[in-house]
Amino acid sequence: MMISSFSLCLLGLCLLSLATKRNRKNALPNFKKLTTLQTRILKCVGFSCLITSALVLAEAKGLSLGLVYLGAWVTLAALTQALLLSYQPRGVPSLLVASLAAVIISVALRI
């Protein structure tokens, strides 16, 4: 379930980055303004993905090693996000779609 947990981290951080106004403006310049409620929903779903990733890792690797992997996955996913937002911000929606697809496939295959 390592790929599932990493994809969930990536998806969660994509949603959280799109929940901030400046990042959203860079990633989706033509997108209409989100309401406060919509922004909160994005944040809630984003954090839920991170929490689910933690649960998946704890189930697969045990609590101690699962937490270590969670720290590592979040760092790697956040670094990917930061690089993308700095150098290719319009790639964030593509990463969002790719990570969502990866979550669905990896959960189905239990990898």
Binding site: S17, T20, S64, V68, G71, T75, A78, L79, S86
Partner: protein, 528 residues
């Protein structure tokens, strides 16, 4: 002064005062995650395993060699080239003999995985030296090194916590790196600090804790006294208890290979990468099979056997149970050392460590950039700033150059040189000394930008030519290693090329972007 201002002051100075030492600790500590791989590269005499050899054959070969060399051993250890370990080696311990005054010693031999013959390798400390540097430093007494590194760990912990407090928009700026703005150094510093924040907190807290018995001596001394009392409690807590001592009565031991096969079945397909025998040939012999753990944060889940009957044996049965404080200490130690980490997690540990080094480097550069701006506006003196600028360069780029020099020395120093390992270590510090002196010697002749470019170009060259050096001085050149699937040798060379590329990119970028203080200061009428 408001709370946030006082925290900013604390963050700045706790980070800056020992910033260069912390950078050194992060860089050398990170290399420690690949200490065995580095040692493998630094001992190119060890041949690659040419055909598939079973672990049973390895054990039989190793036992034959131990029968020849370790006749009086009290403990033997066979390291198998499985899992992460690239070595096939044997270890044996000979007890102290009070009559002759000889001390108890561990001996080690690396064996050729194809023939079982001992391999004579060059004298080197390998990656272990780099790993040890991050807490024991070099050329200074251990107590002083522990005090300095412990103090540095404390300063980092303070800097991290105060950094979180002063970072107003920690969530909003979580991913921000505005590379073309004035804030780019601050953004980069924040990214390196915030993204691996759990790692930074864990590594500094656990580092502080691992050294507490050296640096916070008055605490245990107040309860147990000094001298014998303190020694006794240290032995009780930290020494591995041998619940079975040797009887002196000889007995035939079970076949190690049959116990290995039994352990293999019990380990559910897990790898066994060492076999240890305590009191070989004695009635109380114990055979330990080092099964690599598939879960949890422990590296091994060893299986113990009674060496004579072959029955399972639980060494913890008689040993005193660990307190929760000791368990917590052990957990933090395991997390800090990361020995349990498989390749991917190990690389992420390494990456987080380098980001820690990046955090310290950008912090020092940020201080210099901000101070320069302030001085340019006020027109004040910049003596301290010039010193920081020079030390920044000599440390941030100079240290990687010095580490490359350590690898170069490994291949260029004569194999039979006396104290060879020491000269390899000296090479690192000699080259680092030159790199530190370089900006001081050339300061008046050239600009800061040019000095950075000179060192970055030199770093690019020394790292780019390491694979060439390897090809010229060993049989394991990159092409051959790739063809043979020798990922340790190939990985080392490839990583050196990646580092060379990073320095080359930095060289290109900085050539255009680093502000030239001579020009800036002369424009502002300030003498550097």
């Amino acid at each position: 002064m408001s709370f946030r201002h006082s925290m900013t002051w604390l963050h700045t100075w706790s980070g800056l005062v020992l910033g260069w030492l912390l950078y050194f600790m992060f860089v050398t500590g990170s290399t420690g995650y690949f200490d065995e791989e580095i040692l493998r590269w630094m001992q190119p005499e060890i041949p690659l395993q040419e055909s598939s050899i079973s672990a049973s054959e390895f054990i039989e070969t190793a036992e034959r060699r131990l029968d020849q060399v370790a006749t009086n051993a009290t403990e033997t250890y066979i390291e198998l080239p499985l899992g992460r370990s690239p070595f096939f080696s044997i270890w044996w311990h000979e007890a102290a003999t009070p009559e002759t005054g000889a001390r108890g010693l561990w001996h080690n031999e690396k064996l050729n995985p194809n023939t079982g013959e001992p391999v004579i390798t060059r004298e080197t400390e390998g990656g272990e030296f780099l790993y040890r540097l991050h807490y024991a430093l070099h050329y200074i007494p251990g107590w002083l090194a522990y005090a300095l590194t412990s103090l540095a760990a404390m300063f980092t912990l303070v800097a991290i916590i105060s950094g979180v407090i002063i970072h107003r928009r920690i969530f909003k700026d979580f991913f921000s790196f505005r590379r073309h703005k004035q804030r780019s150094w601050l953004d980069l510093h924040n990214l390196f600090g915030v993204l691996p924040l759990p790692f930074h907190l864990m590594i500094t807290y656990s580092g502080l804790m691992l050294l507490m018995f050296s640096t916070m001596l008055p605490v245990p001394a107040s309860s147990y006294g000094v001298g014998e009392g303190l020694r006794a409690i240290y032995d009780e807590v930290f020494t591995e208890h041998d619940s079975r001592s040797a009887t002196g009565i000889s007995a035939n031991s079970m076949s190690t290979v049959s116990l290995y096969n039994d352990a293999l079945k019990r380990s559910d397909g897990g790898l066994i990468n060492y076999v240890a025998i305590k009191h070989p040939g004695d009635k109380n012999a114990v055979i330990e099979m080092g099964v690599l753990a598939n879960e949890g944060i422990e590296q091994h889940k060893p299986i113990h056997y009674d060496g004579v009957s072959g029955e399972l044996y639980d060494p913890e049965e008689d040993a005193s149970k660990h307190s929760s404080a000791k368990s917590f200490y052990d957990t933090m130690e395991i997390l800090h050392e990361g020995l349990f980490a498989r390749p991917l997690l190990r690389w992420l540990y390494f990456l987080s460590g380098l980001m820690g080094a990046g955090m310290m480097a950008t912090g020092s550069l940020l201080w210099a950039v901000n101070r320069r701006k302030k001085h340019t506006m006020s027109g004040g003196g910049v003596r301290g700033l010039a010193l920081v600028d020079r030390l920044n360069l000599g440390t941030i780029v100079g240290l990687p150059i010095a580490i490359a020099a350590y690898f170069w020395a490994n291949r260029l120093l004569p194999v039979d040189l006396a104290s060879r390992a020491h000269w390899e270590m000296n090479s690192l510090f000699i080259v680092w000394g030159i790199a530190l002196l370089h900006p001081f010697l050339r300061w008046k002749k050239t600009s800061l930008k040019s000095l950075w470019c000179e060192q970055l170009m030199f770093a690019t060259m020394v790292y780019a030519f390491i694979p060439v050096l390897n090809a010229a001085t060993s049989e394991h050149h990159l092409g051959k290693a790739l063809l043979q699937g020798d990922w340790v040798m190939a990985g080392f060379d490839l990583f050196m090329l990646v580092l060379a590329m990073c320095f080359a990119i930095a060289f290109n970028k900085l050539r255009r972007r680093i502000p030239n203080p001579s020009v800036e200061n002369s424009a502002a009428g300030v003498k550097v």
